[in-house]
């Protein structure tokens, strides 16, 4: 009896390992191993071929004196803040509108708002390059209609990043909106009904019911948006190629340049490690602060 049970246990082990081995092999080869070797490479100077030269923490020291890198960090923070400050509230706004109970055609609107999220960034970037064109672009045309001056969007160092932010908000808002909407639908209707009986205004209901009860969702949206925004690359690569005058050179764009155009593999790995550390740190800080404003029901 026990022998059979034990045999079943080891049989289960065998099949269990067999089932996870293909995934695990890929996982270790393309996720775990590169992480370790990436950290290791960051202490070397290496042009991609030939011998590696140990340089200690020189790559890290160099990073903080490299004005181009510091500018890339600044640009990335600017972009991320733009998305967090403008994009996330906008997503919440649309979600609240879509959550009105008498609304007809909710699925239709949700579909339209979500469309940009699934479309190819490479194609969408080209469309936006056209939309943001200074003389023939639709965006400037509409600005002109309401009496605003033309903006030299992607050609002006001051306006290039706002242009990228504008496009990224258009592309990404639908995703966050869908998550907010699911969060809103999880708030029990009875709270609102009780508040209405007590004579609460729309603002009160939003401030004292919706916001607190939605806070776990908001927290999730902020964390994921921050992580993805920090990794912005494609928009900068296709729309502006990092320019004008490095105004849209982001961290990942600079990492890409260092590794695959200038073949400074070690230096680029050090920047990757820095990016990872920043993301971990930012997430930890968010976890600490969340206790003050996130309410888990």
């Amino acid at each position: 009896m026990f022998a059979r049970l034990r045999r079943y246990k080891y049989q289960q082990w065998f099949w269990g390992y067999l089932f996870v081995i293909p995934v695990m092999a890929g996982f270790f080869l393309f996720m775990v191993y590169p992480m370790i070797s990436g950290i290791a490479l960051s202490f070397y100077q290496w042009p991609g071929i030939g011998p590696k030269e140990w340089v200690g923490v020189a790559n890290y020291l160099k990073m903080f004196r490299d004005v181009h890198f510091l500018r890339a960090v600044g640009n990335t923070v600017y972009y991320t803040l733009g998305i967090l400050v403008l994009g996330v509230p906008l997503a919440l706004f649309w979600a609240i509108l879509l959550n009105q109970k008498f609304l007809k055609g909710r699925n239709f609107f949700r579909l339209i708002y979500f469309l940009p999220t699934v479309t190819m960034m490479a194609a969408v970037s080209m469309v936006w390059k056209w939309l943001l064109s200074p003389n023939y672009g639709l965006v400037n045309y509409f600005l002109g209609l309401v009496g605003l001056p033309k903006v030299n969007w992607l050609l002006d160092p001051k306006w290039a990043m706002p242009g990228l932010i504008l496009m990224s908000i258009w592309k990404g808002t639908g995703f966050n909106m869908v998550i907010f909407l699911a969060g809103l639908q999880g708030i029990p209707k009875t709270y609102y009904e009780a508040a209405e009986i007590d004579g609460a205004t729309a603002w009160h209901k939003f401030r004292y019911i919706t916001l607190p009860l939605l806070s776990p969702t908001t927290f999730f949206v902020i964390i994921t948006t921050m992580i993805t925004s920090f990794q912005i690359f494609q928009q900068a690569y296709i729309l502006t190629e990092g320019g004008p005058r490095e105004a849209t050179t982001t961290i990942v764009f600079y990492i890409y340049k260092n590794a695959f155009e200038w073949f400074k593999m070690g230096y680029s790995c050090a920047q990757s490690v820095f990016l990872l550390l920043v993301l971990i740190l930012a997430t930890l800080i968010q976890w600490r602060i969340q206790r003050r404003w996130v309410h888990y029901a």
Binding site: K9, Q12, W13, W15, G16, F19, P22, V23, M24, G26, F27, L29, F30, M31, V32, Y33, P34, S37, G38, L98, F102, L103, N107, F109, L111, Y113, F114, L115, P116, V118, T119, M120, M121, A122, A123, V124, M126, V127, W128, W130, L131, N135, Y136, Y141, W170, F175, V178, I179, A182, I227, F233, V252, I255, A259, F260, C269, S272, L276, L279, I280
Partner: protein, 277 residues
């Protein structure tokens, strides 16, 4: 009473106006892309904009198609998206089943490491992965674009949630009747988890179709370019010929757009499911 009803009516109207305006903003870039793709170069630059192209230049599509090897790009994109989707679904079903329903030494440790890497930016791994791909001799081959993409932490996470809802009694009953694990997974687990599997497949297909940076780095041959990378090079070739660029963009977007329109419910449920767990 009348004023209350009146105010409610105004509120409703405002809601629909706002939502419609928002929808217009979201859809306008697509419409403008389509409109431009059917114009000639002169009328594309006309200001104020010509909303409906006159005359309609359908020939922009065949012209764009033959101005770059788009046939090859499409073949590559379809081939890679389909193989990675099939590959991922198969490996993910087995791994997710093992994590959800089986006991083996080290399972929880492995799964924790697994989830821990969800947060790691893929960009961080680019250089080491590039080195690995070169060492394996996979640079400029389909292997580089297929094998690494068949592993997805997200897919395993999602399917594990589905599989956990299947009662263990099913397996006990099947085992007593002499059913093998493979047959049980194929005939019981998979049919019961169809929505989850469909979601994983959809995400993978669309993700593969749209992927850019990995393809850009792991290949430098024209014959291996997928549509996004091909589009990027097409842009440097034709410069500011926006009608051709927009025609190419339309063709690039269309397959995924169609898939999304038919499966949107599945897709959106998949996102909310992972977002709220």
């Amino acid at each position: 009473m009348q004023t209350y009803a009146f105010r409610r009516g105004i509120g409703k109207l405002l809601l629909y106006v706002l939502l419609s305006l928002g929808a217009l903003v979201m859809i306008l870039p697509f419409l403008w892309m389509l409109s431009t793709s059917l114009k000639d170069e002169v009328s594309a630059l006309q200001m104020p904009p010509q909303w409906i192209p006159r005359p309609v230049h359908w020939e922009n599509f065949p012209r764009a198609w033959s101005a770059a090897p788009f046939g090859r790009y499409f073949f590559n994109s379809f081939f890679i998206a389909i193989t990675t989707t099939v590959g991922e679904v198969i490996t993910t079903i087995f791994a997710a089943y093992a994590f959800a329903k089986m006991n083996f030494f080290g399972k929880n440790v492995l799964f924790t490491i697994f989830l821990g890497t969800l947060m790691i930016p893929g960009q961080m791994l680019l250089v080491p992965n590039y080195v690995t791909i070169k060492k394996l001799g996979w640079y400029n081959t389909y292997w580089a674009l297929i094998i690494p993409w068949t592993v997805s932490v997200f897919g395993i996470f999602l399917l594990r949630q589905f599989f956990r809802t299947i009662p263990d009694e099913f397996w006990d009953a099947a085992r007593i009747d002499g059913c093998s694990r493979f047959r049980y997974i194929w005939q019981v687990v998979v049919p019961l988890s169809r929505p989850g599997i469909a979601t994983v497949a959809l995400f993978k297909f669309i993700g593969s179709w749209n992927a850019f940076l990995w393809v850009l780095i792991m290949t430098d041959k024209v014959e291996l370019r997928t549509i996004p990378v091909g589009l990027r090079f097409f842009m440097s070739d034709v410069g500011t010929n926006y009608p051709l660029l927009m025609a190419a963009s339309t063709m690039a977007i269309l397959p995924v757009l169609l898939i999304f329109l038919f499966t949107q419910r599945q897709f959106i449920q998949g996102i909310t499911r992972t977002g709220l767990k």
